[in-house]
Subunit: 446 residues, 2 copies
């Protein structure tokens, strides 16, 4: 059996960090780009938050030969191998059989699983088809990981001093199984710990290279023990500091991060993984203010960013999605003459929409986004695709600004949402500090 | 140089399908689950739509040794290797240097790239920092792939009878580079073709195992030449038929797909890759009807599904996102007494919300979603988390139905959106066929 120390919070970092995890994600649909590889994101994050770094993720086709060759290679190299997919009922589900053969394990029929599948079908008023029975075969020397949300159970085996975890492909089945069953088992064997392997700072409004240049003097003081990594999102950059060789203690890493945060001022968003919307939500809650939104080109994504935050009804007064002038007039009392004179994609429209959203819904703050996100939406006003106007209504006034983004529709949408969130965040920070806004006041006010 | 036949639409399938593509996605942020591996989804789909199947995707850490070992292995095995990430300006960007060393290529400084980076910074009113200069080094024997949306250019090299493509990590930079520069170059060398490698059917409302059981008799008639794969999304299942050994012609595959579609009736959504929202949008356009939506628990995702469709303003009258009773009353005239009597998460509320959305926005159809998607939202009415009510207003009447989903908040949201879209799709199909709805009429009508 592989073993790091049994962790109770005080275990040394390098032991868990040196456990070699590999993830095999199976399925032609991943390689054909028909479904996103969310398993890498989810399992990678789960391991990272428990002090381990996934070493490798390999995605291969559903062919038996390819699965066998890759599994053999990963099993030889890793301490823990996790597979996803290929445990289901249909003809292209081959992982269980192939892996059993490589490990020299016999598959045995488990009548308890057959009953569970039958009961599941009965509960949904459907009849179990015969192809479901292959899901009832399990390793002779291993354990079953029950699946509360689907038919295919997971499998757990320890062999050759290594751990094998096999999980079904659908994310709503895999994710609770991983959290409730796999993480506790790995932790019990000392292969995971309680803390993250790094300290992360989220920033907004500063580019990746400028961020590194600004922070470099702080990093230089800590030499080779400090490892730094950057990750640019759309309009936001994360910076992670870690010490893979264990040369810096956790509190030393926290000190480095705190120096960085101080230097960055308002460009520092938060430590950890909170979204911009969650940071705004916290500020709104603290200040007991309510927000509403209205959006055209971002199509609901701005509202969704806030409703992803638990208990959104406490601070989120509501949102409106409108791509027609009629909807703006009907729902928010935006004057038709203004939309006709200046166009629906204009600073004036953004100001009027933000004001309408705040007044109609009785909110203290309101964000408006209007623009051309995609190829079909060309403006009569000569605004090119990628032009977005953001409006911000606050107790201190109402403003709009023009932004311009390159790239495909989905990129433009996400960048506009992030820009709007970041503007609100800075305005809420200023209000908290009792400061005066430095934003340019729009010349169009209602 | 690798070469399949030069394709002008008539090239035989097996040549392109047998070209071995491998994708190396670099970056600790992928392995730590901090950012989704969208490159696999995007590049896999691009290759698939041009007749090639990506054979393998490997994600590894930013360490130089790991990159070198993996690149060496992939280069030995594949015909075309594509790398993403690690070309940027910061200290953890090491791909260019490591790959050059493995290939025995010298890196040379390209002053044209330096100028392009400087101009880009100037355009955004920022000063170029010195760390950006490493992005101006290119292969001695290779080509530069200009990057219109970022500082790091891509690199192209042909060596050892193989093709190497190196692209920067940010999706808004990589994606247009791949479409505009990489696909045409690969096609010119006969490594891609014009058509997909498979025929896909999208279905809704039938589970994966039931779908296979239903279609199996059709598949059985075509024997070993036919390859079938299934992919379950949240509430929808895709089925792909292909013939990797070339035993079935394209028209034979289309014939198989057509037989499947006919057998499935209304459970068949479309061929190819259209979203449920796009299919609904086409039906609305054809029938010259307009739709509005109102949502609580799905938070804007339902509206966003429609605004993703080009030219949404033609059929989408608008959307409302409200988590409070106030917002429902203010924006949609939903009667307070109804919400107080039955609760905001109820069949009655869903019916009233759909009706309010249709009437306020002058739409022919309206969808409403109300429910408890996440842990914080527990109902006073005793509805457990995952309970969702969907309301549908149509020219033929207004109904609501109760659904219940397991899993985390994001899963519940997507499933509810898909269920609402599928209900609308079936209702639009019935209207098109002039048929009478078979849905249970709600006992609560306005």
């Amino acid at each position: 059996m592989v073993s790091a120390h049994n962790t109770a919070g005080d275990a040394p970092r390098p032991n868990v960090a040196s456990v070699r995890y590999e993830l095999l994600t199976l399925g032609d649909e991943l390689l054909l780009g028909l479904t996103a590889n969310g398993h890498l994101t989810f399992i990678g994050a789960q391991l990272g938050r428990h002090g381990a770094l996934l070493q490798r993720n390999v995605t291969i086709t559903d062919e038996a030969d390819a699965i066998a060759a890759q599994f053999r290679e990963s099993w030889a190299r890793a301490d823990v191998v996790i597979t996803t997919g290929g445990l289901g009922p249909t003809c292209d589900d081959r992982t269980r059989e192939v892996v059993a053969e490589v490990l020299g394990q016999k598959l045995v029929f488990d009548p308890a699983i057959e009953r569970a599948i039958e009961e599941r079908f009965a509960r949904f008023g459907r009849k179990m088809t015969a192809n479901n029975l292959k899901q009832a075969y399990v390793f002779e020397r291993g354990e079953v990981l029950p699946n509360a949300n689907g038919t295919a159970p997971g499998l757990w085996a320890e062999q050759d001093g290594k751990v094998l975890v096999m999980l079904p492909g659908p994310p709503n089945e895999l994710q609770p199984m991983f959290i409730d069953q796999v993480v506790p088992r790995l932790a019990a064997r000392g292969l995971l710990r309680q803390k993250e392997a790094y300290v992360q700072l989220r920033t907004a409004g500063v580019g990746e290279s400028a961020l590194e240049t600004k922070l470099q003097p702080i990093f230089d003081r800590h030499g080779a023990s400090l490892s730094v990594a950057f990750c640019a999102h759309q309009g936001a950059v994360d910076c992670r500091v870690s010490s893979p060789n264990g040369g810096l203690t956790e509190s030393a890493l926290e000190q480095v991060a705190s120096e960085c945060a101080q230097l960055l001022g308002d460009d520092f968003v938060c430590y950890g993984h909170d979204s911009l919307a969650r940071v705004c939500a916290e500020l709104l809650r603290k200040q007991e203010k309510r927000l509403s939104v209205v959006e055209t080109a971002t199509g609901g994504l701005l509202a969704n960013a806030f409703t992803e935050v638990c208990g959104a009804c406490k601070f989120f007064a509501g949102g409106v999605v409108c791509c027609t002038n009629d909807a703006k007039m009907l729902l928010l009392d935006v004057p038709e003459c203004l939309l006709l004179q200046h166009g629906a994609v204009s600073e004036e429209a953004a100001v009027a929409m933000a004001t309408g959203a705040a007044e109609t819904l009785g909110a203290d703050y309101a964000l408006a986004v209007t623009g051309f996100a995609g190829a079909a939406a060309t403006g009569q006003t000569g605004n090119p695709v990628g032009t977005m106007y953001i409006g911000l209504f606050s107790p201190a006034g109402v403003w709009a600004k023009k932004l311009s983004y390159p790239g495909p529709r989905s990129t433009v949408k996400v960048r506009a949402v992030n820009a709007a969130l970041d503007w609100l965040r800075r305005e809420l920070l200023r209000a908290e500090q009792g400061g005066v806004t430095t934003q340019r006041r729009s010349n169009v006010m209602r």
